[in-house]
């Protein structure tokens, strides 16, 4: 994909650009809102990573102008974690998703992938089917091969993260951040325990490795056969 990274902090920009290039994308970058707008109007990007806090013109303003010009390029906003209003207005203004700073690079890459290739849509509906596992988010129910699996709230949330992007490796801290509003001191170990419990409940007596540990990185869900 052709990606534009708009970030005024040079060090962050360098890291993001490098990571995206490594992932095989064509990346350009600029460091203020006005430059971003002119770059957007003269190029045809597939994706824009847009920081909210920018000099000259802030990210939300850039987004608003873009959408007013009928430019529907996918946009991932980078916001401060406590900036609730930024987030809400960002999504209202037409951002496709947001990521709070400081973010995990894998998560940024994953979001770019997911949002960038919106079709086929990721598992975002009320019912997610992955192999013989079915999750009904509204009814808060999980079945495997028709049999109900009773999960605790956190196990359910954990499984939901895995099922929404099966095959993707999640680091422990990304899991932590997505489940807990504020991380506690025991975090990664807590994730290990929850993964262990979830693994046990999903597999029961089956001889399989449905949630695989990726050494030094995290976990990945191997989609079971349907």
């Amino acid at each position: 994909m052709r990606i534009l990274v708009v970030e005024d902090e040079e060090k962050i920009a360098v890291l993001v650009v490098r990571a995206l290039q490594k992932a095989g994308h064509q990346v350009e970058s600029c460091s203020d809102g006005a430059a971003a707008l002119s770059a957007i109007s003269s190029n045809n990007f597939d994706f824009i990573v847009l920081d909210v806090n920018l000099p000259v013109m802030d990210g939300l303003e850039v987004l608003k102008k873009m959408r007013a010009d009928k430019n529907h390029t996918r946009v991932l906003l980078l916001t401060a974690r406590d900036g609730v209003t930024d987030r809400v207005t960002g999504l209202r203004t037409g951002a496709d998703d947001y990521l709070t700073k400081p973010f995990a690079m894998e998560e940024l890459l994953a979001r770019v992938e997911v949002i960038g290739r919106r079709a086929p849509s990721p598992n975002q509906g009320d019912i997610i089917d992955v192999g013989d596992i079915r999750m009904d988010i509204r009814k808060h129910r999980v079945t495997r091969a028709g049999a109900i699996i009773s999960l605790s709230p956190r196990e359910f949330e954990l499984l939901q993260i895995f099922l929404q992007e099966p095959g993707r490796t999640f680091s422990r801290e990304e899991i932590c951040e997505r489940i807990w509003e504020r991380e506690h001191e025991y975090d990664t170990r807590t994730v290990e325990i929850f993964v262990m419990r979830l693994r046990k409940k999903l597999s029961e007596d089956r001889d399989e490795n449905i949630i695989e540990t990726v050494r030094g990185i995290g976990y990945v869900l191997n989609p079971p056969a349907p």
Binding site: D82, F103, E173, E185, Y186, I193, G216, I217
Partner: protein
């Protein structure tokens, strides 16, 4: 504020005027009495002077000085008076009938007040002047009836006036006070409106140039300074937010990139992993401090919505069970099916996480945690009871202070902001977090949140 100022002012004014009115009747009648007596003495003196003149003229006409006098000899103005005229040798020339049984020979020379009966036989105070001149000795007297009557009238008037005037002063000063204090009531209302949410509002300055106008101006100046301090704190927190987050993001991204490198030795990978974890702890601390800076400035953004607390509580229970595995802590709960509060889901989950962490951290091995939730009036109350160490009465508030980590457990993890943040967030919702009780049988925290109006 048990009694409003206007009642107090009215009451004080009434008491002061009552005291003044009580002092007046002890001073004023005496003064008036004294004045009237002086005048009376002068009048009697004038009478004696006239009488001596008449007697001298009579002597000059050659009438035998010893011949008694008749009433006609007296000037008309003297005829109602007590009159006695004697010769130098003591023989009486004239004696008016109104002396009755009083013996005028006992009178001293000069002024005297004596008791003489009237024709009804009642004792009356009378004023008498006795003087000798030439061959004659003269006494002139009159009853003090008018003067005494006036004294009585005065005393009566004061007795009647005292309650009436006090009441009038009470009502009057109450009304005056209310009028004078009206700008203060307006100021109070305005001051209540000035808050962290509306720091630019100011007190009304009345157009009167009096003390109240001056007070308003002085207070407004203070509010100006406060507002400046507030906005400075807010600018600082947002600037700090930006300044901290950038290096943290760089750290994290760099470390996670490093971790995926294939050539890392397992021990090096472990080091990177632990550095990542520390970076994230730093992030949490940074976020906690920013959150507190915002609550202190009253600028915390809340997005309250009707929120069922029960699933949130179940999540917290889930966490507590896992966190408590090492110490074999049992988590029990007695919960209703739903409990809908008006709350911001993200903030509530922080409150419950912090409270849960704290309860697990300060519990004993093989301890228990019991969670209940109920409605009470307009509030939802979540009670978390644990078998932690007993918190002494004097430490009950201290445990909510920042960076406080209980002396009983020196090796407890964390930076000691959890309970403080939980309480600040609960209060931002219009609720509270309290230590309900702490005994040997258990320590109970109550989280109170407003119910959603149905």
């Amino acid at each position: 504020m048990r009694f409003p100022l206007q009642y107090k002012l009215g009451l004080y004014a009434a008491v002061v005027s009552a005291i003044a009115l009580m002092l007046l009747p002890t001073i004023m009648p005496r003064y008036i009495y004294h004045r009237q007596m002086t005048e009376l003495d002068k009048e009697l003196q004038d009478g004696t002077d006239d009488l001596f003149k008449d007697l001298g003229e009579r002597a000059a006409t050659g009438i035998a000085p010893r011949k008694p006098l008749t009433r006609d000899f007296l000037q008309p103005s003297l005829r109602a008076r007590l009159i006695r005229i004697t010769n130098r040798d003591g023989s009486e020339l004239y004696r008016s009938t109104n002396w009755r049984n009083f013996d005028p020979r006992t009178l001293p020379v000069g002024h005297a007040t004596v008791v003489i009966q009237d024709k009804e036989g009642l004792d009356r105070n009378c004023r008498v002047v006795t003087e000798s001149k030439g061959d004659f000795n003269v006494s002139i007297g009159t009853r003090l009836g008018t003067i005494e009557g006036m004294q009585e009238d005065l005393k009566f008037a004061f007795k009647v006036a005292l309650p009436i005037v006090s009441l009038l002063v009470l009502v009057g000063s109450f009304l005056v006070a209310r009028r004078v204090l009206r700008p203060i009531a307006a100021m109070t209302a305005a001051a209540e409106r000035i808050s962290a949410e509306r720091p630019s509002e100011r007190l009304p300055v009345p157009n009167t140039r009096d003390e109240i106008a001056r007070l308003s101006r002085v207070l407004n100046a203070s509010f100006d300074r406060l507002e400046k301090a507030y906005s400075a704190a807010e600018r600082f927190s947002s600037a700090a937010s930006h300044q901290f987050k950038t290096p943290l993001t760089v750290f994290r991204a760099g470390l996670s990139e490093l971790r995926t490198c294939d050539y890392l030795h397992p021990t090096e990978r472990e080091t990177v992993e632990s550095l990542l974890q520390q970076t994230r702890r730093l992030t949490t601390l940074c976020e906690d401090l920013l959150l507190l800076a915002k609550t202190d400035a009253g600028r915390l953004e809340l997005l309250p919505e009707p929120l069922d607390l029960i699933p949130q509580i179940h999540r917290a229970i889930d966490d507590m069970e896992v966190l408590g595995l090492d110490n074999d802590i049992t988590v029990q709960h007695t919960l209703p099916d739903t409990l809908i509060a008006l709350a911001d889901p993200r903030r509530i989950s922080i409150i419950l996480q912090n409270l849960g962490d704290n309860t697990v951290k300060y519990n004993r091995s093989h301890g228990t945690i019991h969670i209940t939730a109920r409605e009470e009036k307009d509030t939802a109350i979540i009670s978390v009871t644990s078998t932690g160490p007993c918190i002494l009465q004097q430490d009950a508030e201290r445990i909510f202070e920042r960076f406080n980590r209980g002396k009983a457990n020196e090796n407890v993890k964390g930076h000691g902001l959890g309970l403080n943040i939980a309480r600040e967030l609960a209060r931002a919702h219009g609720g509270d977090l309290r230590l309900a009780r702490s005994e040997a049988t258990g320590t109970q925290f109550d989280l109170i949140l407003p119910l959603a109006k149905t």
